[in-house]
Symmetry: C2
Subunit: 236 residues, 2 copies
Amino acid sequence: MKPIVTIEPNWQLCTDCAVRASAVCSSLDAVELREFEHLGRRVHFSSGETVFSEEDITTSFYNLLEGVMRLYKLLADGRRQIVGFALPGDFLGMNISGRHNFSADAIGAVTVCQFAKAPFGRFIEDRLHLLRRINELAIRELNQARDHMVLLGRRSADEKVAAFLLGWRERLVSLKGASDTVPLPMSRQDIADYLGLTIETVSRTFTKLERHGVIEIIHGGISLLDPAKVEALAAA
Amino acid sequence: MKPIVTIEPNWQLCTDCAVRASAVCSSLDAVELREFEHLGRRVHFSSGETVFSEEDITTSFYNLLEGVMRLYKLLADGRRQIVGFALPGDFLGMNISGRHNFSADAIGAVTVCQFAKAPFGRFIEDRLHLLRRINELAIRELNQARDHMVLLGRRSADEKVAAFLLGWRERLVSLKGASDTVPLPMSRQDIADYLGLTIETVSRTFTKLERHGVIEIIHGGISLLDPAKVEALAAA
DNA sequence: CTCCAAAATTGATCTGGGTCAACCGGCCTT
DNA sequence: AAGGCCGGTTGACCCAGATCAATTTTGGAG
């Protein structure tokens, strides 16, 4: 009996790509896109799988197409700091040392557009606009990183959680449109490791916010009942 | 009577520049350097002066030539997070929003090479190698930022201080050569705001390290008596 | 030199968030 | 439907580091 298998072509049209407008490739014209199409290869990862690990030699770059990823660094004794969550359109893997400087896991099912390092490097070589785009993304990330330093170093647990909810919602808004229902695909532990807190503190803060009628904890996320109040708590 | 004034020319030869090899300009050839020379202008700042402030519209980029700067962000209530210290060779001011995303003060006397935004942007426009160099610097900074997130979110006070001393020494090594005497031009408050601690905790940790014979607190810095012990404390 | 202000140190006490531990509930497997 | 597991919540207690409060030291300015 013939097995039932879904055949995924090695590549698909960039023109149909969901992240076409936001990702690195937004800087490419129609002609370049045709060539670029053959460079990338769609790859799926299931929940919890590691896409690449810190200190691994970089063999590929990744353009996240679908799903969410956690980007993190581990200390020798197992302490973990999540340095960011990746969403569709995010470009991962750039570094100068030739090794990844953080690890990346799939949170839920994930699809990436994977580029082998060498051909991608060759393609980029003389394309000023693509390099500019990558530079722009790097600078944007640098800003986010600095904002997150402020959060980690100088904000209270309440402020951290409130700022996280708003920031996460904001990113989803620009992806799927505005909503006061905020899906949280990541675990409480992930949130804790992102905010420099413990899982218990995150949980307690959530319930505190719920008791105060500011949010409602729903299955797989939260609902922002009083966004203004959350903003006040985040105290910019 | 003729006043005694030191006349500083608007520009000096890049070829003589102290940071020629390490800074952005390391990517330029001899011909480009001649043109580049006329773009930058040496400017001096004295201790404590602010070179640019967060949210200011970006009118210039800066290449730090001499001295040390603190780069920081403030919360509305005055809490401060220092996101980094700049040393000679560091390039400051890149952003995509058109506004600076952190403030920068001189720690002690500082000399910068200042570039007006527009002409610099024009110069960079079609110079792939310069853009690549800037990109490289951005990615390097991004790594540092992520490392610092781990420190802020997941390390104890002792680890933070030990890691800071080692990291700072490391940067000075690549600038002035190896030494176990580590000058600390920044105040205790600066160190505290960099590490997400209070001034008292930094001070106490220093004295604790000194009591244990690991460092010696000297005028304007510390001396690493037992670098191996400090590395053990920093616990990578 | 003396005086003053700012920076740093030190001590005493407090507390936000961590730690430890019990428990709950959804969901998968048998 | 029973059992078990895993993620999340809740409670009791603790402690690293913050806060509050004096000193002490340092560095100019006169």
